[in-house]
Amino acid sequence: MYHYYYKSLCFFANDYLSDSDAAQDVVQDVFTQVWDNMPEVSEPSKLQAYLYAMVRNRCLNRIRTQQNLHKYQTNEMQEIAWDDDESVRIVKAEVLREIMASIEKLPERAQEVFKLSYLTQLREQEIADRLNISVNSVKTHKKRAKSILKDELRHLFSLISIFHL
């Protein structure tokens, strides 16, 4: 559960706080509270909504504290409602997890090369040096990653030539 939600919740919190360290503090805080006092939720989807709601409430309270406003009085188990802005933030965090999951399903080498190329933005030569492989095999791994992802995320790829590989 922790690993499944951690990054999405941090991303979501960061949308409010624009501070990745603070976002991680908030999320750790939420998991600690859940650990100390596991809410009685029957379905996983309820737990998910609950986690997002706890993160949201803490973020809003942090912002309010900074602005010297009254804190939100929240009952965390009450019916959770999202406004439009919050909804799109959640969709964003959830969608990124699934895209990342597709990347993490790539074979090990192809995944390493793809991450270094697309996320760390290293050149082919730099990747080759770092992984101690030839530039040609960097190219092969990239191609492989690209074709697998093209299949996995068909619509995302159909509109643009993504991942300028």
Partner: protein, 386 residues
């Protein structure tokens, strides 16, 4: 629509495997608000998507989990474990590796009673310090002054070693922890060492030159004091080693076992094999090194079961019975005999206190009705239920 159902729909849409109706729903959602449309447009932009994924991936869940475990999971001593009923419930039976489904129809069968008689005590805090051919028992009540050529080397009070860091000569010290024992002490640089039963740590006092080097065998958990100028190196059996830069990790490397297991909790370590292979480990990773073919494998794991022993628990997650029993035998000073080889490969999960009598733990394993134990002095015989 529920926001999580919507998210799932958007994912399907991006994967290109949703039907016309679902697609229409996503298009409809896109049209409601500019923010929705912007989001969909943004993730179709290679550069913007890359930026988002980079941020997303910068949140390090392994590292955070390591910290979470240390601050939360390990301090829960007095909660659920005090209740015997819950304790039994915490045993989860896993994997029936014998083909087919087993039915336990003969509930009238007589249960073996052997477990109620003798009670086997757990290990205690106990070690021996060997310096210059002198052996000193390190228990909670021992107070000794160690001298060499009338120079104070170290004093031992309440079983803990206090070093004289100004010492002029160099001495080799070895801390040995026998079977049925565990021990915790601090090295002269402030590094904390937890040693499990049947382990040995050797180090020079003071550390020579600009590395802090120790030799370890058995199972050791280290919380290495930060010192960027002097790397900390752990030499393992079979000439493997671990180079450390301020960190917490567990290494299990008993010479008689062919697998060495290193688990990194926090920080970073460079693991080096005898034939020049190196792996830079990240928190949450388990490195398995085979002494048979020198092969190594790295996996991401929940670190808790690997370090539970140092906090007084036996925790196993879907572990082979033989591996569980090997640890138990070191801690309780018993030998184990298997009535049938298949028993060794049964898998169990458990999370119990290490300071229980062995019988209590065996009884819990018996609740699973897969196996039962008979005790003959210090020999445990494991039998299979038919």
């Amino acid at each position: 629509m529920d926001v999580f159902k919507l998210s799932a729909l958007v994912v399907k849409y991006l994967r290109g495997n949703c039907d016309a109706q679902a697609q229409a729903k996503v298009e409809e959602w896109k049209a409601i608000k500019p923010a929705n449309r912007n989001f969909i447009d943004d993730i179709h932009d290679s550069h913007l998507l890359g930026e988002k994924l980079k941020l997303y991936n910068s949140f390090d869940s392994n590292k955070a989990w390591g910290q979470f475990v240390i601050t939360n999971k390990l301090k829960r001593n007095n909660t659920i474990y005090m209740q015997p009923l819950l304790k039994v419930a915490s045993i989860i039976v896993l994997l029936i590796s014998i083909g087919g489904v087993l039915y336990f129809l003969n509930t009238m069968r007589e249960q073996p009673q052997q477990l109620t008689e003798s009670s086997i005590q757990p290990g205690t805090s106990n070690a021996v310090l060997v310096v210059d051919n002198q052996s000193i028992t390190l228990s909670d009540t021992v107070n000794v002054i160690l001298e060499d050529k009338s120079e104070l080397i170290a004093s031992i009070s309440n079983g803990q070693i206090n070093y004289n860091n100004e010492v002029s000569s160099l001495l080799e010290m070895t801390v040995k922890v026998p079977i049925k024992s565990e021990y915790q002490f601090v090295l002269s640089d402030g590094t904390k060492v937890w040693m499990n039963a049947g382990s040995k740590v050797t180090f020079a006092h003071p550390f020579k030159g600009n590395t802090r080097s120790i030799k370890a065998e058995g199972e050791v958990y280290l919380e290495v004091a930060k010192d960027a100028t002097r790397p900390f190196v752990v030499e393992l059996p079979n000439n493997n080693s671990i180079e450390v830069l301020g960190t917490q990790f567990n290494v299990k490397a008993y010479p008689e076992e062919h697998l060495q297991k290193t688990v990194l909790v926090e920080g970073s370590v460079l693991w080096k094999s005898n034939n020049g292979k190196e792996r830079l480990m990240e928190p949450g990773q388990l490195l398995l090194a085979s002494n048979l073919d020198n092969g190594i494998e790295v996996k991401v794991v929940d670190v808790y079961p690997y370090i539970a022993w140092k906090n007084g628990y036996f925790a196993y997650e879907n572990e082979r019975l033989e591996d569980i029993m090997t640890s138990l035998s070191r801690w309780y000073g018993v030998t184990v005999t298997y009535q049938d080889e298949v028993i060794k490969d049964l898998h169990f999960s458990m999370d119990v206190k290490r300071y229980e009598h062995l019988n209590d733990i065996l009884k819990m394993l018996e609740v699973t009705e897969k196996i039962y134990f008979t005790i003959n002095g210090s020999e445990i015989i494991i039998n299979k239920h038919n």
